[in-house]
């Protein structure tokens, strides 16, 4: 059984989802790559930000 940490699961999810978003939402390879990186950063960045927000709310 594969048991990743929550953060590793976030990274894997962001990687695969960003790849599909990049390919399907843009037309040229360069723009696909840039949009994929942008989506990846947003996925991971928002997960970190919301994690800290929930941590501070829970205190």
């Amino acid at each position: 059984m594969f048991r990743p940490s929550h953060f590793l699961a976030v990274l894997l999810f962001a990687l695969f989802a960003s790849t599909v978003f990049g390919i399907t939402q843009r037309e040229t390879p360069q723009r696909m790559f840039r949009y994929g990186i942008y989506c990846f950063a947003l996925f991971v960045g928002s997960a970190i930000v919301f994690s800290w927000v929930m941590f501070l709310i829970a205190r």
Binding site: F2, R3, P4, A9, F13, F16, A17, T19, V20, T24
Partner: protein, 136 residues
Amino acid sequence: MATGSNKNAAAAQTAQPSTVYLPLIAGWLIPGAGHFLLGKWKRGALLAVSIVCMFALGLAMHGKLYSGAQDILDLLGMAGDLGNGLLFVVGRVLGLGADPVQLTTADYGTKFIVVAGLLNIIAAVDAHNLKTGRKS
């Protein structure tokens, strides 16, 4: 007034009306197959790897494959799972994803499987858009 892309779309549809939905259906049944049919090998390979890996990791985490719809959330999960096409059918036939979710990682896995299906639908629609000329 028709734009250039609309003209391309109309031309593609009138040229082969019987096969216009083939990439959409193939892409739904087998991840990336819609792009392969259109000769977009790299895009198709990347899509296939991403979607199949996400589905397989979901099963490896002991995620659940929805088998029925008892309430609205199950219905939405089932709709997402069905987006995986033949991967879902093979998983059900092999009895994978049938265990109840008891661990946190199994819950992640269930979400991975649902999202893989939704991403596959996006990829299949993209193949359809390439076929009709809405996208190049």
